[in-house]
Symmetry: C2
Subunit: 516 residues, 2 copies
Amino acid sequence: MASRVLQSSSAALRAVSASPLIGKTSRAVRISSTLPRCRHFTASSRTMSPPFYAWEPEGPVVKTDIPGPKAQAAIRELNEVFDTRSLNMLTDYPKSAGNYIADPDGNILLDVYAQIASIPIGYNNPALLKAARSDEMINGLINRPALGNFPPEDWAEVLRSGILKVAPKGLNQVFTAMAGSDANETAYKAAFMWRRQHERGGAHVEFTAEEMESAMDNKSPGASDLSILSFKTGFHGRLFGSLSTTRSKPIHKLDIPAFDWPQATFPQLKYPLDQHVEENRAIEKAALDEVEHLLKNYHVPPCAVIVEPIQSEGGDNHASPEFFRGLRAVTRKHNVLLIVDEVQTGVGATGRFWAHDHWNLEDPPDMVTFSKKAQTAGYYFGNPELRPNKPYRQFNTWMGDPARALLFRAIIGEIERLGLVENTARVGDYLYGKLEGLAKKYPGQFENLRGKGMGTFIAFDNPQRDQFLVTAKKFGVNIGGSGQSAVRLRPMLIFQERHADILVERLEEVVKALQK
Amino acid sequence: MASRVLQSSSAALRAVSASPLIGKTSRAVRISSTLPRCRHFTASSRTMSPPFYAWEPEGPVVKTDIPGPKAQAAIRELNEVFDTRSLNMLTDYPKSAGNYIADPDGNILLDVYAQIASIPIGYNNPALLKAARSDEMINGLINRPALGNFPPEDWAEVLRSGILKVAPKGLNQVFTAMAGSDANETAYKAAFMWRRQHERGGAHVEFTAEEMESAMDNKSPGASDLSILSFKTGFHGRLFGSLSTTRSKPIHKLDIPAFDWPQATFPQLKYPLDQHVEENRAIEKAALDEVEHLLKNYHVPPCAVIVEPIQSEGGDNHASPEFFRGLRAVTRKHNVLLIVDEVQTGVGATGRFWAHDHWNLEDPPDMVTFSKKAQTAGYYFGNPELRPNKPYRQFNTWMGDPARALLFRAIIGEIERLGLVENTARVGDYLYGKLEGLAKKYPGQFENLRGKGMGTFIAFDNPQRDQFLVTAKKFGVNIGGSGQSAVRLRPMLIFQERHADILVERLEEVVKALQK
């Protein structure tokens, strides 16, 4: 196997060495600020669309076991000061390029995991390089503001030309945060304050002495006895409030105190979808009934429901647009907020900018949270009542990071310039078709293939999943899992047909190797 | 008044215009990467030590009310998309320099609030500018890793030459985070896992089926019934776990669900300290007795105590090194971890790198959390048992931000190069002496002056505190409050005697204006 891979990758290696982005032996980053235009690319038989950038290798290069000797030495050193037990691959970022991730031993893998779905437009993207070198970015980096107190004079402009330009329909305000966990937690805080304000009779009603006193002692009525409803197998973060809504795996939750908040069953659809229409409709109806039952009866009343458009950590679980429209209706009916967690699904990978765009809601969600590919975090909202009635109720020192907000603006610019949302829709369909072919050819190996029409946000189950992921590296692919048995594809937005071809070819090799 | 200020600031204005760091009318940042050496400065009668950098204005410039007309227009625009009710001052960061913060109307204030104690070595510091322009920083910014899975090959070196170089005595490991809140929350998670591991009988004991199942339902025994003990008037962040330990003000906590965790009284010392020695000793003993009582008897058993060396948001409340040594002893005695929250006190402002260095502990704290002036966040620990027994128990996608870690390394470099910890110790003593003079001259106006020997981490109470803070801006000083009535000084580490002279002169003007 190794010789075959090595053979096929000599051209790729030449391409890498020739790249202006990639140094040969120096540790320093050697990067050019020239933003190359799209150009036609004729060297590969795999070409279907011209490549977005010219700086990528042509394919994976596997030179050693992973980790190889250099990586192993560095991991030993790192482990003295940093927990390395969750380490997947020690990475050489300066040598990574586009869809390809490099390691210290000279291995270069096609990366369809992308830093847990967080790299939007490729490693060492020249547009981001240009943004990073701008005076504006440097100012954001070295003069970090306490945004709530001392916003930069152009903060409205930065928001409008960046984060707000892609705001979901119906939501025109943003609260900026640092990562997915605190994006969700600040959204929860907004929900609790909103609901209590309703119960009190409006924004003008002052807090009682009893509320002020009991809040300081962590007791009700000052600390509310309300809850957030989430779904089984959902993931919303790992701080104390977000972890209380996360229901992915015991290892994420064990030993950590949690709030007594309710969980509903997320529809467990059967595949292929077109062969289980009635059954799946009944499954989704039962899930909605369970949600309504909990909203009406749970002993700690929910003020909001949080849901992922596709449960991503929990195993790539999908539900139909009808289900989500039903969820909007039932939350509206019971005066409960709907928070859509787009931390992993947002920013283009599903063939729409936001995954919930697929639902065609007439009545938008109350809040939408984001992070990962946005390279910054926070939540969108539309209703002015979701601004708390007094200042300093929703506040912290940094409230996000302007440098990261500027990076998101540059990412949005590239997504628009290159039509990357349309790209993931088209390439996703292409890839899905190829994977359907593999599923037929290798029964049981690409089980429950899912994500049709959802861009490149595709997954399947494999009976030897963990071994599958390890073996994929030997064939030049960096790929991740989710839930108990899913292999999840999370390519970047610049993943093209040429990459899909390589991926499918290598996945077939993995399955063949596992069946030996 | 205004004319006096305007008169005195014409020289300052010339200095600003001449600065290579500050543009005149352009919105763009015009900054030089030349790192100037210390040079002797002879133009001002205020000079006691040579200035660290040559790019600062000589003093405040107040041209308009704050907010002035340009700021008011920009705030109206910002308010359409961002909550501006906590806005203190709209800021022109490119025109800010060193200890001076600028606004869009051309006002330039001496900044002793420093983005809520978060700017370490001045606005537009040339050393940070150089670091921000480096290829290494640009790589960290545009290729953001999921650190736990895909650390950069030089991550050990970045940690060792930066964050770990200043690790508190006895603590040689670090878990990186994003901000103070999640630094504390991840430390709490480590504490819960550590205690439950002890209770189970060691790292090798597997979780039971009942634990795994109940954890998914947010119930014990899987979700532990343990607590974190914190102190009244303490502040540790505003996410759900950290907020449950925050006891600063009702407005921070109202309506947010909280854990049933215990609070102990923080010593409320009487000032001047030398006139209340016996009384204060009794106050501290009573506080320690209360801690011990809660550790032994609280119905949700504490596994850790968290404490700030100086309660910063809660009103600048100090306690003696003896008190903290007693706290270390009583936590050790009851096998409870001691977490020192140095988010606001850390990184040099108290005349030691860490405020808890003042305690001369023989037995170090179990964990020390940091953020703010570090421009990144996390917690230090020493005991290998504080690494959870399995991977992925303490984990999230980003686990910090390498770009911010590189910035902290550059900050540490400047602190060392210029001897800034020694600087805050010396300038703090100088400033404290001057403020003692003011306190004598204006009885009741600089009440409970505190922070002697604690660098520039100084505070006093004023009966018209809120008015005091607003009025200070008219006299060219940006300054913050804490607790109910404290004026808190949080100058940067590059605050020198010349700045102390200006500050003291202006504070006297504020008091005179308020007494009119």
